[in-house]
């Protein structure tokens, strides 16, 4: 990451003028206080603190602070896909998850007992683990329960219920 000084020199940082705010502050500084959104070059042409552009001249105690320091991104989940291995499998449907909030998510239901599946869900420790759909397993909403093969995940040999983003039928 470039240093703040480099960013400022490249004109990627903007600055706000901050005055002291005490009784000896000059009127020019009071007027400039809070002015923001200008690059260092732009501030240089307007006059930085202490360069004689304010009544306090070289005695200026104001500072310039960067005002676009932070960036915030958003992460939105990609739409779900059913793995190709499940296409055409009985019980794999395209139903809306709930009628009243018609979200286009995929719902798996009635996978035959004994179906071997691989978990590709949101729980990182379990991704890629394989399991077998147990007899009478239910698949509701975003959860599926199945028994993991002991070799797949020794610590969790019994029923597992978890969110999935994709379930691949492997056998």
């Amino acid at each position: 990451m470039a240093s703040l000084i480099e960013l400022a020199e490249r004109g990627e940082l903007t600055f706000t003028w901050r005055a002291v705010g005490d009784k000896s502050m000059c009127p020019d500084c009071a007027d400039r206080h809070g002015l923001n959104g200008f690059t260092l070059d732009e501030w240089q042409s307007r006059g930085l603190p202490g360069t004689g552009h304010t009544q306090c001249q070289g005695n200026c105690r104001c500072v310039m602070l960067p005002d676009n320091l932070l960036t915030v991104e958003s992460e939105v989940l990609e739409p779900f896909e059913i793995g190709p291995a499940l296409e055409g499998v009985p019980g794999v449907t395209d139903r809306f998850e709930a009628a009243r909030i018609a979200i286009n998510m995929r719902l798996l239901s009635d996978l035959p007992a004994g179906t071997r599946v691989r978990y590709q869900g949101a729980i990182p420790q379990l991704r890629g683990m394989t399991g077998t759909v147990r007899p009478g397993a239910t698949v509701q909403g975003m959860t599926i329960d199945f028994d993991f093969a002991p070799s797949g995940f020794p610590g969790m040999q019994s029923l597992f219920v978890g969110d999935f983003t994709e379930v691949i039928r492997i056998g």
Binding site: T14, D22, G37, G50, L65, D163
Partner: protein
């Protein structure tokens, strides 16, 4: 003729003052002080705007359909706040991506998965599109303003380099000119 003009102009010192300030901020960024402080602010900003019924462009969300509002409990007609059980916004999280970068997202969890519901609202998958997940320009403006105030307090605490007190401005936080960019 005598020159009564006694003040000293310090153009070079002015620039080095700016750089010294930036160096000190950089140290606080390296110590994660700034991003750690900002994360809850980011989350609060998203929740606050959304529960006021405003999208990322600060426009009101598209209203619920009459049928939807009728089939739900009282208060589900207007304004649209994307709050029914509160679980979706309850799973909202802000995390650091770098020294000055954060991301906001909805954690996976719940049945149906709130992360999926959040995405469906945001993208308009099966429901009217209501873009909410992220920071609006107004949210960012508020965050930037708060960050400047926070920097002031950090810098004042960490050494004698700055003389500002800013006390007279506390609470008013002047922010009079919109970012021209």
């Amino acid at each position: 003729m005598a020159n009564n003009f006694s003040a000293t102009w310090k153009p070079h010192q002015a620039m080095s003052n700016v750089k010294r300030t930036l160096s000190r901020i950089q140290k606080d960024m390296d110590a994660d002080k700034i991003i750690t402080w900002a994360l809850p602010k980011v989350k609060d900003a998203v929740i606050e705007r959304t529960t006021r019924g405003l999208d990322l462009a600060d426009r009101e969300f598209i209203p619920y359909s009459e049928g939807y509002a009728r089939s739900h409990k009282d208060g589900m007609n207007s304004p649209v706040t994307l709050v029914e059980s509160g679980q979706m916004l309850g799973q909202l999280k802000a995390d650091r991506l770098g020294k000055a970068r954060a991301k906001v997202f909805v954690r996976t969890g719940g049945s149906p998965n709130r992360q999926a519901i959040a995405a469906a609202h945001h993208r308009g998958q099966g429901v009217p599109r209501r873009e909410w997940l992220g920071m609006s320009p107004k949210d960012m403006n508020g965050l930037n303003r708060d960050t400047v105030l926070h920097l002031e307090s950090l810098l004042r605490l960490t050494g004698p380099g700055l003389k500002t007190s800013g006390k007279a401005f506390r609470g008013t936080a002047p922010w009079r000119v919109r970012n021209p960019r």
